[in-house]
Symmetry: C2
Subunit: 322 residues, 2 copies
């Protein structure tokens, strides 16, 4: 197997060679190229390639489906950025800011169909399984996004609902990416499902870790200012875990979130989290879901060297947690 960096640069090259229509259709396709060119870790298409490679498939035949997965991911970013009215993504203007909202909507729609087309380039014998995996994943992503939107105005959120939300919004795509790769690589149904579980649990751990980093991380390595989620009143794992304490704790949490001055609010909420041991609870949850991911991986028929490659990926994504 190649290194993660090698897979990632293969994906980058394939994305740059897409050759979408130009000319009078450039107003539709150029924003797609812009969205896809933002870079990033390309973790999802890398998972497709690794899945195909690991189970003995031809990584080359997995490349177009891998680009399809990345195109799907970027389609969700285009539409999420419209819905959240976000100005920036990876330090560049979002598509609806660089162009306009209607362009982000329509070029986003186009990306979803392109993604389906790219993913459907698998062999006929695998088309049904791959397409079902892809479509079911897409529905989970929308459902997760919808739950996240509904959380914004929800009075209280159960921890289980929060976990269901991130399983939909974040984890199902990671699970489906590696599962589609595994199917392309001729994995058994059992192995393909175990790889889905690996990807999904890794996604849950990643998201909780991301929530944790936003409050307890180091702004230098996190890449964003610390406390953004608290400032924006975002319903994170930390928030719902604290809220689950109920009674006066829940009241204190809501009061802390209502402090108008940003810096004071960040400090008050962070202090409360610490007092409640949310910091540790978070780390434990990350460890718990990471273990679940590795347990699923270990249960596959992959040899030790290949398992090690997927462990490395999990480490890279989540960081080593003891």
């Amino acid at each position: 197997m190649k290194t993660i960096a090698e897979y990632s640069s293969d994906v980058e090259l394939a994305i740059r060679s897409l050759g979408l229509p130009g000319g009078k259709l450039s107003s539709l396709y150029e924003p797609i190229e812009y969205g896809l060119s933002a870079g990033g870790k390309r973790i999802r298409p890398v998972l497709v390639l690794m899945g195909a490679d690991a189970f003995g498939g031809n990584a080359l035949s997995a490349m177009t489906p891998a680009v399809g997965i990345e195109t799907f991911h970027n389609f969700t970013l285009l539409h999420d950025d419209v819905m959240d009215n976000s100005d920036l993504r990876r330090g560049r203007p979002t598509v609806h800011k660089k162009y306009d909202e209607n362009t982000a909507i329509l070029s986003g729609d186009t990306m979803l169909t392109l993604a389906t087309k790219y993913v459907a380039t698998v062999d006929d014998a695998k088309l049904r399984r791959v397409l079902d995996t892809f479509n079911d994943m897409a529905l989970r992503v929308y459902e997760g996004q919808r739950m996240d939107m509904d959380f914004e105005t929800a009075e209280s959120i159960a921890v289980n609902d929060y976990l269901e939300m991130i399983e939909g919004k974040t984890s199902s795509l990671l699970g489906a990416s590696v599962k589609i790769g595994a199917i392309i690589g001729d994995a058994s149904d059992k192995d393909a499902d175990l790889m889905y579980e690996y990807g999904k649990m890794m996604g849950v751990a990643f998201q909780i870790q991301d929530d944790w980093l936003d409050t307890f991380g180091d702004s230098a390595t996190f890449g964003k200012p610390i406390g953004g989620d608290i400032l924006n009143g975002k319903k994170t794992y930390l928030y719902v875990a604290a809220l689950a304490e109920g009674g006066q704790t829940a009241d204190a949490l809501r009061a802390a979130f209502n402090i108008p001055a940003g810096e004071m609010r960040i400090k008050a909420v962070t202090r409360l989290y610490e007092k409640l041991g949310i910091d540790e609870k978070c780390k434990k949850a990350v460890g718990h879901y990471s273990s679940k991911a590795l347990k699923a991986l270990n249960a596959t028929s992959l040899d030790e060297e290949k398992k090690e490659a997927f462990r490395k990926l999990a480490e890279k994504l989540i960081g080593r947690k003891k």
Copy 2:
């Protein structure tokens, strides 16, 4: 074969029996049911069922793909209504007015994936052809919509570009509907392609007819006030055909469109169209494309009775043109 009304009521029943998820996911799926329940002629799913029936397939196995086609059509309406900021659709508030814009975007995305899932319920042996037809059609629709958006600010529009736009935005879906039905009904590749041509040309005739009705129709039968396109400065077949005259005529047309008072503008533009013979030109174009549709239909291997059913549908959609 059944009558158009019977197929249509079968579709209506199937749509009402979809059974989308409710509960905490109703904020995602209820707007979809609302959008789908607006009624209408259901011409596109009827074309799927008729295509399957005509070529000897099981119309029952075409029902879910037919609902998929209607779901796709309604997905485009949800997003188009956001992009056009339309308040009403079939006399009811549009989804983004009844709920909100983000709901229309996200539930629309969900409809596109649901549509793909429904269309993909065909037999494995037909999946590749049906899916390719569906995805390529979807891209043509987005490209047509994009051209239509770009026309809004275009200084001049060639008649051929206008035709390309409506072929994408309107006709490709009619063509793909009947082609997918034909494939499900085990039509030969040649017959399936001829039925696509029938649907596509019928769509072009229908759209030009619709443009004509908006200026020269009878508001009682048209169902909308006459002159709406002129009031909104919409780039119609009439407009581009008049513009094609060039020189002073084009100047006069632009001047007429710049008249501030609505009623006067409608009268001036209509008079100019009449003077230029655009009225007749339009009718001729409708006849031309209707003939093309019927010619393709006649070239299929269908027996006379089945051809007659598709002729009736064309008549119903476009009206008899001599």
